[in-house]
Amino acid sequence: MYRYLRVLGCDAADADDLTQDVFARFLRSSFEERSPAATLTYLRRTARHLFLDRIKIDRPKVIEWADAVDAEWRTSGAAEDSGEWVEALRACLGGLTQRSRDIVIRFYRGGQNRAVIARELGMSERGVRTSLHRARAILRECIQRRTGR
């Protein structure tokens, strides 16, 4: 749920809040559990509704984005919900070169921007940008292969 909300566009704090709100609604509802998949779909729909409810500007474009996220979730959702997607990513990180992995980790782990990474690794900013782009492409291909998408 949290990851779905983050992909929709919430920052970490908003995703935390909305996750709680989703479960609070769930608790108040008279939902009858039929299957885990049905429950997850119900929770995701509630999350999407609460998320969109807060968007006041240019809703059509944000809805278009949310539709794209939902379409992606319908194909990879099971892998996302079970954590398989993240586990695949964990394994795929090992396939990157040390340099690429270092850049990816600095970028995502510490929130270092490209200028800082470039300075610390003695690279150009464009070089960092290119390395990140390549690393993402490799990870994408690897994850798709591992999750069978």
């Binding site: 990851r3 983050r6 992909v7 609070a24 608790l27 240019d58 278009e64 992606e72 995502y108």
Partner: protein, 439 residues
């Protein structure tokens, strides 16, 4: 549409990488201002930013005192810290700091804690830089002991990244008076399992009046706690050195049943650094977390000029804490991980970490099949967190209590107490949770 799908995939990747790689002790920062990641919706950067602002304003309007709250970062991921907490207004964006800036900050009271935490996050490059500082530090310089302690906390937090410095640190032991010597030995003991070299403890002869290292008298004028710490460091070293970097997963699993508590802890830590390879150890780690039957650890207590008393301290709390964090690294979604999440909820981590733990407990509790005793432990932790002064933590715990606390009288009392409180958001959540608990 294809390009939008690509953008969604990129966003999934971004979020998962943050989740996988972000150390959760780090204070939350806003990626919009500190990182040039693209926003999620393709071609909608301005719209996204505007929408985010609207959301933020709406949340601020409804959240009352639910502003972003984080506790001071844990210093170097350890609990034996002595540094001062950084005042919020002095909180810079530390990921932006260069290594030399962090090393400089390490030397200042006001910035030390944050610098330690950030250096631990930096991994190997930080290990080399901090080890160089520690090895070059002259014991005669002002505040040398305090500076060494801080540097060694970082090296202990860095674990395997700093392990190749263990032999040099061990050689450095003789240069320091008893207090620094004990701290160095403790660090060597922590790093020993990952050290590529077999390490031998120097021979100590300890008495109330003097300490000899390899028959040579060390500087006098030490305090009793330093003598105790030196004794404990040698005990820790002798336990942890049973764990080696080349040991197989089955061997490490065996060591989880060692007669030495320190060996169990070191084996858990080693499993935690083996990634997916350590998955076969998950049941044994869960057993460690559930068991109360862990060996005692010897703790020295010099009682008079002639004798030292060896107390038997329980290793169970430390083993539980270590097992919990290792399990959450390996298999956070298994039902048995509820006990590990409880440890994190009841721990001293950031509000964010603790609130996430409460939420995960709510999701996993019903399928966890816990014993009555463990059920009670988990629910007590939720009830305590539900009464926390921080709204985010309390809200997460109340929600989880609604999902997990069915039929529990003390949960009813806790929720009713919250419903009498002043926070409207918490009152509403407690009302919803109470309906579930008494249903």
């Amino acid at each position: 549409m294809n390009s939008l799908r690509d953008e969604v995939f990129d966003r999934q990747l971004e979020v998962a990488l943050e989740e996988l790689l972000a150390p959760e002790d780090v204070p939350i920062h806003d990626p919009i201002t500190t990182n040039d990641n693209p926003r999620p919706w393709h071609g909608l950067a301005f719209v996204a930013l505007a929408a985010t602002v609207v959301i933020a304003v709406a949340l601020l309007a409804t959240r009352g005192n639910d502003a972003e709250t984080t506790e001071p970062a844990q210093s170097a991921a350890e609990t034996d810290t002595e540094g001062e907490a950084l005042a919020p207004e002095q909180d810079p964006v530390w990921p932006e700091a260069t290594l030399p800036q962090l090393l400089e900050a390490l030397d200042k009271n006001g910035t030390r804690d944050r610098a330690e935490a950030e250096l631990v996050r930096r991994g190997a490059p930080a290990a080399d830089a901090v080890a160089r500082l520690a090895l070059a530090l002259d014991p005669e310089t002002p505040r040398a002991r305090e500076r060494l302690a801080s540097q060694l906390r970082v090296l202990r937090g860095l674990r395997q990244h700093a392990a190749h410095h263990a032999p040099a640190l061990m050689e450095h032991v003789a240069d320091w008076p008893v207090g620094g010597c004990a701290d160095l030995l403790k660090t060597v003991a922590v790093l020993a399992p990952w050290s590529p070299h077999e390490l031998e403890m120097p021979k100590f002869e300890m008495s109330f009046n003097e300490v000899k290292l390899d028959s040579k008298v060390m500087a006098r004028g030490f305090e009793i706690p330093e003598l105790n710490a030196l004794h404990d460091a040698t005990t820790m070293f002798s336990g942890r050195k049973h764990v080696r970097p080349d040991q197989s997963i089955p061997r490490l699993i065996e060591l989880l049943e060692s007669e030495n508590g320190y060996a169990r802890i070191a084996a858990l830590e080693m499993l935690g650094t083996r990634g997916a390879d350590a998955m076969p150890a998950v049941p044994a780690i869960e057993a460690c977390l559930s068991s109360e039957d862990h060996p005692a650890i010897n703790k020295a207590e010099w009682v008079n000029r002639q004798s030292v008393r060896i107390d038997q301290a329980s290793s169970t709390p430390e083993i539980h804490a270590t097992a919990a964090e290792v399990l959450l690294g390996l298999a956070p979604d298994t039902p048995r991980a509820v006990l590990a999440w409880r440890h994190r909820l009841a721990g001293t981590g950031t509000i964010k970490r603790r609130a996430q733990a409460a939420t995960r407990i709510g999701q996993l509790f019903l399928s966890a099949q816990l014993s009555e005793e463990h059920r009670a432990e988990v629910l007590e932790a939720l009830e305590e967190a539900a009464l926390a002064s921080d709204t985010r933590l309390a809200a997460a715990a109340i929600t989880a209590l609604g999902m997990a606390g069915k039929g529990r009288k003390s949960a009813v009392a806790t929720l009713k107490r919250i419903m009498r409180g002043e926070n409207e958001r918490l009152r509403k959540l407690a009302d919803a949770a109470l309906r579930q608990v008494i249903r």
